[in-house]
Every structure is written in structure tokens, then in C-alpha cells.
Symmetry: none
Subunit: 400 residues, 2 copies
């Protein structure tokens, strides 16, 4: 169904009217959901709450699946494929992070407010708008609040949906609604490799055993070398030394320290190159430390454990989902760019199932930082939401 | 007063006789005191109990001072200086550690039994022996069970005694009796500075915000530079990068990472030099990172928090306290070595007040471990105790 046909329909006009009319409720939902902490592997309470919201919106087969995804079906006319519209429950922020929302005018500040909590509320707004407009889609639409998108979650929620869940063989298209930005339509899945590098050595008293090799210095050298790796800007390729830990006590040479590293690239070949360079850097840093200080009580070793592995993939530019999404976004005034990123869409893309990531509308910034914010100014917010729903309807079709 | 004069006196013979005669009581005191837990910053109950023991031994001005040291004065002839004889109340073991003493023959096993609980009991045995022998010293002797010797206690008990306590301007010599070993006479105080260096930055998404400055890379550079600092082997000077932490998630450029660092030297001038170099390294590493990547969302900063500060110092080899202590220990058959360590004696040494650490006698091992033990076999135990008291009397003088 073309974007033009949808936008000329009375249903579309009603949808926009409803998105506007209950925008305050959508904002209230964003705040309420943001204030339920959802650290990695701690999405339970937010998932349970979202499950009840899906149920209250009248979906069918509302359930928490085996991995913790909260989902429910909005049945269509029964003659189309099953389409998934998902947003992720988890945030990057560890347990204990203050997630209270601060409001300044139309701006909301809180960790996770834009990535990806706004989208969860937007999915609910979509259901209300479709119902109010009396829209029956051709396809069934499965709405999902999924777990494990961030970090060490390693896309486990959507991976489960596509490889083990009860709908796994029926899904013909996948939208993930993730973060406010509407212009970057994600049609490529950036692959990533994540490692925990654990450096070990004999350890000892900081004064009495001074002169022995230290895993801390091997780690320092490795991370400094990583910081100096020249990566291409295009295909975009990145690295980050992210989380640190280890050590015995302030007055001990540590026997173990560790760091978690994130490596990414749009291009599989560049990701392999970066990964190989990283692993070589680890070994070189260990050798350098073993030559810089005494190994009389034992030498430094390093163990690199793969803790995340997101497949790269892409959806063809001439696929229906990319064509419809591009048209829908452009028709709402967005200057669409086709980009690659690492999102829940990586999983279907890697399986050859058409998938895109679209935005949730409005604007925002500073994702993954404690200063994260979104702007829920109504006209811009609704314009983004309407664009997203138009893309979904173009793929799902409206039954006569 | 010479060691030879003391050891030829009738008083000395009586002292040894009493140390032998009530050795069982000394052992009973060791057991009773060991079984009162005294974790860092939790010395209160042990201090209160020790206070009553000092009072029962007839000392004057028995009191708990403002920081928790339990102490009492044994008045001398009134024409000598004030001498302090101290042992520390605290152990390294956290609250909840089982401190029940297990006895096998002459061996006692328990956390803290040798470091430094035996010494607390030995101080009481000294008072009983001096009283029984009718010894009036030339100097007043202040007996102290002090707090905060271990770890983050940072010598706060003895620091208070010398900088704020009511005797602070009267103390002319200081003995700390610490652990069984009699051969290592501590005449040098290894100084230490301990820092937590916290690197902060804007943080952000590991892929989306790639190119922003990272506190992880500033920390890596700083620790690598620290590893390359050339420190003298004599006076022994050391550094350690010890405990690491921080980071938001594997897929985030961290907004905060930290490392704890231990710096030590036998020589105050070298410790100051190392500390200044360390602080300069922190700033240089931050500047380097701020020039290596984008500061458009904010720059890297570093905060260096002093979490431990033990002054270095030493007592001259030709000082009375070192000469008398050496002679007293050798006269009792111990092969004395002059060594440097980090003990309560650091404080007076750093203030130019003559100070040594002597042993409490007997033998022992596995200090700072749960397997800590001492051997209270009587002849060896009393030999060490007599040697220590001889050193104290040589400095205090016996009034005619």
C-alpha cells in the first residue's frame, strides 16, 4: 500500500488527530516508564509494567516470553504476514542510577528517556490511534517491548524472538523503533565484537614486591595502543575501552585487572581487521610488560573473552520496507539518510528478513550519558510519530 | 643508662623472674584481647576493655583520648622526659571475621593474635614487672593501646597523639611494640601517599559518539607513564596501580573511570618527588587525551583524592633510642637488622622525634592472613619481652 494512499485516507487524518489529542498521555507514559529502572539484565520490573500496559490496550495473546520480552498481538484481517514493531526495555545504565525525570519546558532529562523509553510509549500511542481510527491492518502486528538490546544483553531479546520464540517462522518484516532521531533510517546492521580482556600476574605487596610485573601496566599499555589505532571513517569503524575492574587492595600489585572493549564496523572486513589488531595489541602489551619488569614470581598473561558478537547485515534499498519507510519519512518532511547502526534490527537483517530501525519522533541527545534528554514539543513529536506509523501501515497494509 | 648497667641490676633480675612467673597470665590476656574483634574503624570495644585493664594496673590519668586511644601514665621520678610505649588495637580483618583463638601446644592461631594483640598484653606484663621490681623510671612512661594503625586507618591514632593530644609537646621518645619479630628493629619509616584518581568526561555512545575524548584512554596513558617513572632503588621508592573501576556499559564511552595508586619511599624527598611526578602525569595524560580526540561535548578532567598519607622519616643510627635498642636486643641474643617499614613510628619519625618499632617476643607468622599464628613457648617469649623492656628502660632511665 503506498504512502500516498495512506496519507490521503480519512484513517490517517484521524490517526494524526488522536496522536495530537492524547500527546500529554504519551508524555506521561514516557515519564512513568523512564522512572522504572531497567539496567542490563534487570528489565523485569519495567517489562512487567509494560506487559500490563499492552494488556490494557486490548491486544491479544499478551505475554512475557521465555526470555522476558513483553508482547501482544494486534490482529489484522488475517490475510497478511506477521509484522513486528519493537522497542527495547533495557537501558545502558547500571542498577542504582537515578532515573528520575527532570522537566524543563518541553525537554525531559533522564538516563534512558530517549534510548529507548520514549519508543515504548510511542508504541502504545500507535495502538490507541489505530483503534480510534478504526484501522484494521492486512497483516497481524506484534508489538514487543524487548530485553537485552544494550551492551552485554547482546540482542538476546530479539535473537530469542527470531530463533526460539513461537512466532519465529511467521515474521515477514521487522521495525525497531529506537531513539528519537527520524532522519537516520537504519538499513544496515553494524557488526560488533565485544571483549573482556583479563590481565593476570603474580601480584604481591606494593612495596615489598615492587619490581614484579603488573597486569595493571600491561592493561594500560594495551588501552593506550588501542586509542591510537587508525580506523577508517568510511566504512565507519570504532572502538571503545568501556568498563574497568579488578585489583586486590590499594597496597597490592594486582593479580588480576580487566577491561571491556567494544569494536564495531559497518563493514565485516574492517571489523575483522580491527579485531585482529586488538588481539595483537593485547599480546604485545603483555610481552612489553614481561620485558619491563621481573617475571621471577610469574609472568603476565591475558585472556580475551568474547562477550558480545552482533552479526552485521543489511536490508536491500529496493525492499518494500526500505522504500515505504523512506517515502513515509520524506512525506513528513524528514531528510532521510540510509545509515548503518547496531540495533535489534541486526538479527533479522543477518537472517535475511527485511528490517529497519526508525525513530520515535521529537528530538534528543546525549544518549548513553547521564545527561540524556529528549524534547517532546508536540508538533515535532507528533510529526515523527505519524511518519513512523505511516511506514508501518504501508508495510502492514490497511484492510478494506 | 647503659644496657649493661640495667642487665646487671637486681631490678632486671626481678623483672625477668616476674615475666616468667606470670607468663600464663600474659598468654591469657593475649587470648582474651584477641577474641575482641577490632576491625579498621571498629576498635571501640577492644579499646574500652584495654582501658579497664590499664586502670586495673594502677596507671594514672587513664583515659580514652579524642580519637579512641586507650592510655595511662606510669609516673617516673619527675626529672626525665615523657616516653611513649604503644601497641595498636586494630587488626586488618573486617567485621565478622571469626577471631576465636585455637591453641595447639604453645601455638595460638587467630586473626590478629600476633599483629598486634600479643603486644597489648606484653605492655601490661611490663607494668606488672616494673611494679613488682619496684622500678621507678627517670622518665614518665605513657602506655598506649592505639587505633588506626592498619590500612585506611592511616595511623590516625598516633597521628592524633603527636599532633592534637594533650601530651603532644612532651613526648621525647616513642616505642611501638608491633608483632613478635625481634630481629628487625625498625628505624626507618617508609612513607606512603595513596590516591584515587578519577577521570571524568562527557561519555557517550561507543559508536555514535566515537571520536569524543575518553577518560579510559587518559587513565591508560597516565598509568603507562607511571609505569615508566625511574625511581631509586635506594632509598627504596615504589609505585603501584592497584585497583580499577568505573565505566557505564560495554557500548558506552565511559563518563568516569578510576584507579587507586600507592606511592612509597623510605626518603621523604623521594616521596615528594614521586608524588609531584604522579600528579603531573595525571594532568599531562588528560591534556594529551583532550588533544587526541574531540572535546566538543566536554573535556576530560581528573580529580586526585588523597586516600592515604603516611609520612616518611627515620631515626638516626647514633640516636640513644637506636643505640640502646640495638644493644638490648643483641644482649638478649637477637641478630638485629636495622630496617625500614610502615608503622606507627612513621609519625614521630616524620616529626623528628626519636622512634623505633620493636618486637613483642616469641615467634609468629602469616600476619594479615586468616592463618595468623604465634608461638608463646615461655623461654623464647620471655627472652623477647625482657629484651624489649631493657631497651625501654635504657631510654627511660632508672631513678636511683
Amino acid at each position: 500500500m503506498s504512502v500516498a494512499e495512506i496519507m490521503q485516507s480519512p484513517a490517517y487524518r484521524k490517526i494524526v488527530e488522536v496522536l495530537e489529542a492524547d500527546h500529554d498521555r504519551t508524555v506521561a507514559d514516557i515519564v512513568a516508564l523512564t522512572e522504572i529502572p531497567a539496567p542490563p539484565f534487570g528489565e523485569g520490573p519495567k517489562g512487567a509494567h509494560y506487559l500490563e500496559m499492552l494488556r490494557a490496550h486490548g491486544l491479544e495473546d499478551v505475554e512475557l516470553d521465555g526470555i522476558g520480552n513483553a508482547m501482544g498481538l494486534r490482529r489484522g484481517a488475517g490475510n497478511g504476514p506477521l509484522i513486528v514493531v519493537a522497542a527495547h526495555l533495557d537501558t545502558v545504565f547500571p542498577a542504582g542510577t537515578v532515573v528520575t525525570v527532570r522537566r524543563e519546558g518541553t525537554k525531559l532529562f533522564a538516563p534512558g528517556v530517549g534510548d529507548d523509553t520514549r519508543s515504548l510509549a510511542v508504541l502504545l500511542a500507535y495502538i490507541r490511534a489505530l483503534d480510534a481510527a478504526g484501522v484494521r491492518t492486512s497483516s497481524d502486528i506484534l508489538f514487543v517491548g524487548d530485553v537485552g538490546e544494550e551492551g552485554l544483553g547482546d540482542l538476546r531479546g530479539i535473537r530469542h524472538l527470531f530463533t526460539e520464540g513461537k512466532y519465529k517462522d511467521r515474521i515477514k518484516a521487522f521495525f525497531t523503533v529506537d531513539s528519537p532521531d527520524m532522519e537516520g533510517l537504519v538499513v544496515g546492521g553494524v557488526g560488533s565484537k565485544r571483549y573482556r580482556a583479563t590481565f593476570r600476574g603474580p601480584g604481591g605487596h606494593s612495596y615489598g614486591a615492587f619490581g614484579l610485573v603488573s597486569p595493571a601496566f600491561a592493561m594500560a599499555q594495551a588501552m593506550l595502543e588501542l586509542s591510537r589505532v587508525a580506523v577508517p571513517g568510511k566504512p565507519k569503524t570504532t572502538f571503545s575501552a568501556s568498563v574497568f575492574g579488578g585489583g586486590t587492595s590499594v597496597n597490592s600489585i594486582p593479580n588480576e585487572v580487566w577491561v571491556e572493549v567494544d569494536l564495531r564496523s559497518e563493514a565485516p572486513v574492517e571489523l575483522v581487521r580491527l579485531e585482529q589488531r586488538f588481539l595483537a595489541i593485547l599480546d604485545q602489551a603483555v610481552q612489553a610488560e614481561n620485558h619491563a619488569r621481573s617475571t621471577e614470581q610469574g609472568a603476565i598473561t591475558v585472556e580475551a573473552t568474547l562477550i558480545g558478537d552482533r552479526p552485521a547485515g543489511s536490508t536491500a534499498a529496493d525492499s518494500d520496507i526500505v522504500k515505504h519507510s523512506t517515502a513515509a519519512l520524506e512525506a513528513h518532511g524528514f531528510a532521510v539518510r540510509h545509515v548503518a547502526s547496531s540495533t535489534d534490527a541486526n538479527i533479522p537483517m543477518s537472517l535475511g528478513i527485511p528490517a529497519v530501525k526508525i525513530g520515535s519522533g521529537g528530538t534528543g541527545g546525549r544518549g548513553h550519558s547521564l545527561d540524556e534528554w529528549i524534547d517532546v514539543e508536540q508538533s515535532n513529536s507528533v510529526r515523527g510519530m505519524a511518519a513512523g506509523l505511516t511506514a508501518i501501515l504501508a508495510v502492514a497494509g490497511i484492510a478494506p
